[in-house]
Symmetry: C2
């Protein structure tokens, strides 16, 4: 996490990221971003023409960052179970380091999905390849048969949702005890891996 606070533009990006993540596009105020960056509002419009453009820059950066190394893992030659374990580890690791991402992305997604769509398309992400891959492993008898889409949905859900619903998890499960909450998140990866394997590995 390098802090490049040299140039004004970087200071703005850093400040804007924090404010947008905390308040969302609608809730964020240009004045607040300017204050956080230690400059004035006029400079924001000098560097980025409008709030909309500034937001898009931040959103794209976060999405690209959050986006999967998944395809890379999936396209490797490891057995399917290993790949699944690696994906889960990679996801939880990312989320523990950047727990704000899911909530932010989902919030802005329901506001205006077009930004994400552009990025998904740019990345050329093709889920069908992944599903074909899973289906192949099923046909080989490595894991039980089930619709690959649902298997993917189950895994992704268990990884992301507890982070996306962080305020709820924190309060309902742990009465806002942050230490207990962090411990819970740290346990997620092994728990999910065992859960998935118990569910899909053929048992004799």
């Amino acid at each position: 996490m390098e802090t490049k606070k040299d140039s004004t533009e970087d200071k703005i990006l850093e400040a804007a990221k924090n404010v947008f993540v905390a308040k969302g596009m609608e809730g964020a105020r240009m004045q607040e971003i300017a204050d956080a960056a230690g400059i004035n509002k006029a400079l924001l419009h000098y560097y980025f023409r409008s709030k909309e453009r500034l937001f898009e820059a931040i959103f794209a950066e976060i999405i690209k960052f959050a986006f999967p190394k998944i395809t890379r893992i999936v396209q490797s030659d490891e057995p399917i179970v290993t790949k699944i374990e690696q994906v889960i580890d990679a996801y939880i690791d990312l989320l523990i380091k950047h727990p704000f991402i899911p909530g932010f992305v989902m919030k802005e997604l329901s506001r205006d999905p077009s930004g994400l769509f552009k990025i998904v398309i740019k990345f050329g992400l093709n889920p069908q390849t992944i599903f074909d891959h899973i289906q192949l492993a099923m046909d080989r008898g490595e894991i039980i048969q089930m619709p690959p889409r649902h298997l993917a949905a189950n895994i992704i859900s268990m990884c992301i949702f507890p982070f996306a619903a962080r305020p709820l998890v924190s309060f309902v499960l742990f009465k806002d005890d942050q230490v207990a909450l962090e411990a819970f998140y740290a346990e997620r990866a092994p728990v999910i891996k065992k859960f998935v394997i118990d569910a899909i590995v053929i048992k004799n």
Copy 2:
């Protein structure tokens, strides 16, 4: 789904619900709510003193509605596996009928969690009771041992997340084919039930 469009107050509540759900608290405009209700802004302030109060009324209504019959199911005398199946069915059924709820709740939750907290407290919801119940079934050997919190997190995640991330699921998985999307959601309940049972029921 009764449409009681008689009184002005009900028209406002109905209109406000739609607008708040679509745009969120920050994004919603009093003018838009007034237009949707077929009245003018002044009347909004006549019935509800401020935007804040109007929002709180809507939010509380939705939360109360979305809130679990779970405790009721859990407190029954069915075996644990049956209860889990009933909870999954109840959840998915609710979410198919009201798919907007998760996104809305999570968005406003990250904005200001205090509203939900009041309601959770008012409901006297005690997750520990549920966890104790699960633990008991584990000690009886009905299902395998795992931290009850994580089991609950896994189940809730698989139920809610695909609905909360609806725009993403719709686009990435189905290229916005709504028919295919609905079919996918309809399959969720049986898929999740089988997945969970395969994961936790002791196998010989």
